[in-house]
């Protein structure tokens, strides 16, 4: 197994664990953490391709800068929404929150 394949399998494991968390977790904050795991898995893949695969050199680094920026914005906004949800319904259980009304 080459280093590239090791990194790709590691990234795949991270992504699948994150996807499992998104699908199976009930708490909105835990779902957000799982989304962070998936974003990181994509970053690992991008860096692995930039390092080991021909023709993808520096562009992956630029993409990762943008991914991290958007992830930071996403976490800030999503946690604001979670706090709002908690204020309205006194719960962050996603199974209980099935309406967009107050």
């Amino acid at each position: 197994m080459t280093s590239l394949e090791f990194m790709l399998i590691l990234g795949a494991a991270l992504f699948c664990l994150g996807l499992y968390g998104v699908l199976a977790r009930r708490n909105a904050v835990l779902v957000l953490m799982s989304i962070e795991l998936m974003l990181n898995a994509v970053n690992v893949h991008l860096i692995a391709f930039a390092r080991y695969v021909a023709g993808t050199e520096a562009i992956a680094h630029v993409l990762i800068i943008f991914v991290i920026t958007i992830a930071a914005a996403e976490v800030g906004l999503a946690l604001a929404i979670v706090l709002r949800m908690f204020r309205n319904w006194e719960t962050v259980n996603l199974d209980r929150i099935s309406t967009l009304q107050q």
Binding site: L19, E36, L37, A54, I65, G76
Partner: protein
Amino acid sequence: MIAAAILGAVGIITVAGAVGVVATRSVVYAAVFLLLSLVGVAGLFLMMLAEFIALAQILIYGGAITIVLLFAIMLTRAPEQAHQQDNQQRPLAAMACFGLFILLTATALSTPWRTRDASSDPMAEFTALSELLFSDFLIPFEIASLVLLVALIGAVVLTRSGREGA
């Protein structure tokens, strides 16, 4: 040989942290496991000679995002927190994710990658990154700052106390 051992250790730390995030019942422990996993990912970046990305990873994910998540956990403490954190679609989700993992692994192993010799200059990627960021990607770079500003204002508006009619 030593590099391979370090790589394996960092990989195990990363995956163990991720397993902790999706397996633990305590939300606070999940945040700590997430921090472990994110620092592990920063280690992977370092092993692939992406020092700047590794630093940004530790600063933004390890510092900012984990702290914000911990704040959200503390502010949303409900009595139900001690109960089961997984919903009833767990077996199906586990099967689907395992299937996806098998598929991705098989793809990674069977694709004939056009690999290249890794450059020995540790600053090469960094220089190329900065040149690209301030030439071809200048406009997206500026728009990213706008996105952050909008997210900041949006977060303030959303969390403001709703008493004044908001």
